[in-house]
Amino acid sequence: MYQMQPAPSKDADLIAETLAGQQLSFQLLVERYQGRLFGLIRNYTRNTAEVEDIVQDAFLKAYVKLDTFQHQASFSTWLQRIAINTALDFMKRCGRSPVQSVEDPELITDPRSFDRRRMMAPDARLQREEIAEVTHRVLEELPDIFRTVIILREFEDRAYQEIADMLGVSIGTVESRLFRARARFKEALVRMYPEFDPNTDEGGSIH
């Protein structure tokens, strides 16, 4: 019988080898996940040098804490959680994070009390980069928990379960947080960019 092509080392093996002092194994782990972390963190800052710093910091933290990694969660999830926290810490240190990071009790909590304000898509004339710039500015206004859940869902296209694992919360919490986050995003968008508010038009024509 043919021997299968040797599979790439499993995360668990690379972790064990790293803990045993194999620098190359850790390098392989970094190589495996660096792309994902760069993609994730670039949603928090548009400055490439900062993305690099944050990702590097996250890997170093992961290395220091590697012996505490419990194999119940996937290494990828664990690593991304560290990266998110590193990014949020970074934003706080730079004074670029809203102070309020708890859920806002005043905000509608029941998805059935649906926001009656309509939402419009970005103007077709806007370039992708312009949209990204507007969105980034609006997201910076949102408390951490809302910004993160929007990033994970909308940009990273992660499933609710994965978001729940990453943030250490239930799926129900992800759903309700996402609902609030989207409402907050809409509210902040039309507040910061009234030109995108379809509800302010005289006559309020909605297409």
Partner: protein, 179 residues
């Protein structure tokens, strides 16, 4: 009947738009959206919102990044801190004020000198105030401290008496552990 259906539907709309519903849940919802413009608007709003999140362009890690990070991790192994070995970009606000004095020897000497001058001033002020408010012998004897001492003596005596009688001591961490 319709409005209660709408309520249920709307709780499911985000999950539906996010592709998180099972086909069993999604199918009746789809049917409802076809017939209900209000719920359809709600779904459309979410769709519009998603246009604000264009897929970002990929950002590739620089060449040699992994090797550099692994080297930094292993180089920092002796000192095991949570600080990265390569510093983050300079941050204006984050410099703590305290270490300044110890870092610059000239500044340190100046601060020490200033501290001793302040200490001398404070001492002479205290001495002057003490001189001014010297209590008389009568006042001294009226101090409440002796009574407090007496009370303490009494308690101590009672305590040693209790011990002699074999009364249990207050439990300490050790006695609790041995139980």
């Amino acid at each position: 009947m319709k409005s209660s259906t709408c309520h249920t539907i709307r709780t499911l709309v985000p999950g539906y738009m996010d592709g998180e519903l099972s086909e069993e849940q999604a199918s009746p919802l789809r049917q409802h959206l076809l017939s209900c413009p209000t719920c359809r608007n709600a779904a459309q709003d979410l769709g519009n919102l998603s246009h604000w999140f264009p897929t970002p362009e990929t950002l590739a890690p620089p060449a040699g990044f992994a090797a550099r990070v692994a080297r930094a991790a292993f180089a920092g192994e002796g000192g095991q801190t949570n600080k990265p070995s390569a510093p983050l970009r300079p941050q204006v606000e984050s410099t703590p004020a305290a270490p300044l004095a110890s870092e610059d020897p000239q500044l340190r000497r100046f601060v020490l000198g200033l501290t001793s001058v302040a200490a001398a001033l404070l001492l002479s002020l205290a001495l002057f105030m003490a001189q001014e408010k010297q209590p008389s012998g009568e006042e001294l004897s009226a101090e409440p401290i002796p009574t407090a001492l007496e009370e303490l003596d009494r308690l101590n005596a009672a305590d040693s008496l209790n011990r002699a009688k074999g009364v249990q001591e207050m439990p300490t961490a050790r006695t609790l552990k041995n139980r």
